[in-house]
């Protein structure tokens, strides 16, 4: 096992919440997302159908919240939470290790969602691709009326 690359500064970031910005969920972005995935349910495209099925508007498809659409910051690499993007690491490559959502309320076009992320822990490991740092993170999503609508748990692998 190589020496740990986790610095005191990195350790101090654990549990520290970072503002990830506020984004409006729009009808067009829901449709784009649904079309790219291949969804055919009209609740992701048609406002009238969505309302007839009991939603407040066009529904954001599963996974929508993890995407950085609307973020004016240029992100040419994997979309990682700001808290992780700021880490100075000796590894060049990044992989998204996985992601899980907990959905508390439907998210629909017109919602304005504030996201806050934090690093929850690090893990160092030597795997088939060599030494790696796994950074576990968590993001909360809150609607403009203050309702927590979802949480996301993920881990990013640097190697």
């Amino acid at each position: 096992m190589p020496d740990s690359i986790i610095t005191a500064e990195m350790q101090s970031l654990v549990g520290h919440e970072v503002d990830e910005g506020v984004a409006e969920v729009t009808t067009t972005s829901c449709r784009l997302f649904a079309r790219a995935v291949g969804h055919t349910d009209p609740i992701f495209f048609d406002d009238a159908v969505a309302r007839a099925r009991g939603y407040r508007g066009v529904v954001a498809p599963p996974g929508y919240l993890g995407t950085p659409v609307g973020d004016p910051g240029v992100r040419s690499k994997i979309p990682v939470p700001t808290s992780i993007a700021g880490l100075r690491l000796p590894y060049r490559r990044t992989l998204d290790g996985g992601t899980a959502y907990e959905y508390l309320e439907p998210v629909v076009a017109g919602d304005v969602i504030a996201s806050r992320s934090k690093i929850t822990r690090y893990e160092e490991r030597v795997g088939s691709i060599g030494p790696m740092l796994i950074t576990y993170h968590e993001t909360s999503y809150t609607r403009q009326d203050g309702t927590l609508v979802a949480r996301m748990y993920g881990h990013i692998i640097h190697y």
């Binding site: 079309r35 790219a36 995935v37 969804h39 349910d41 599963p62 996985g98 959905y103």
Partner: protein, 145 residues
């Protein structure tokens, strides 16, 4: 719009049931559509030279898209009356465009909690060689009859 499937009810679901398979054959065009829709413009997902330059065999499918495919698998099973409570997956293996991806799920538990009828599932994507590149799990709420 093909989503006219019959509602699945909690009463009819049992541990071990396999849910209907979703087949996705991801083209490079779809990866480009996903890049635009998601805002993930990392070049390993559309630029073969860039992908090889960082040691990959070629362009790979976005993890976020595979996650969203599993979301579609679940949605099509539970719609219109069910809802996804939780779902997630791990990106264990890489997948490449123009290969068929099979999105699958099996019921692991049915139970009630706070008056809601819940179903836990294992969900995953396997490639044409049968390798589960993207294993995950989910909890959904289903209506009762």
């Amino acid at each position: 719009m093909t989503l006219t499937t019959q509602q699945v009810y909690f009463d009819d679901v049992h541990e071990g049931d396999e849910i209907p398979l979703l087949r996705k054959a991801c083209t490079l065009q779809q990866l480009v559509m996903w890049a635009g829709a998601s805002g993930d413009f990392y070049q390993i997902h559309f630029d073969p030279d860039f992908a090889r330059g960082v040691g990959l065999d070629g362009v790979i499918v976005h993890g976020g898209l595979k996650h969203a495919f599993l979301g579609q698998l679940l949605h099509e099973w539970i719609a219109p009356g069910g809802s996804i409570r939780r779902f997630g997956c791990q990106f264990r293996g890489m997948d490449y465009p123009n290969q068929e991806l099979l999105c699958r799920g099996v019921v692991t538990r049915t139970y009630e909690e706070h008056g809601q009828a819940l179903v836990d599932l294992d969900v995953w994507i396997e490639n044409s060689a049968g390798v589960r590149t993207t294993p995950g799990s989910a909890t959904v709420v289903l209506p009762r009859r």
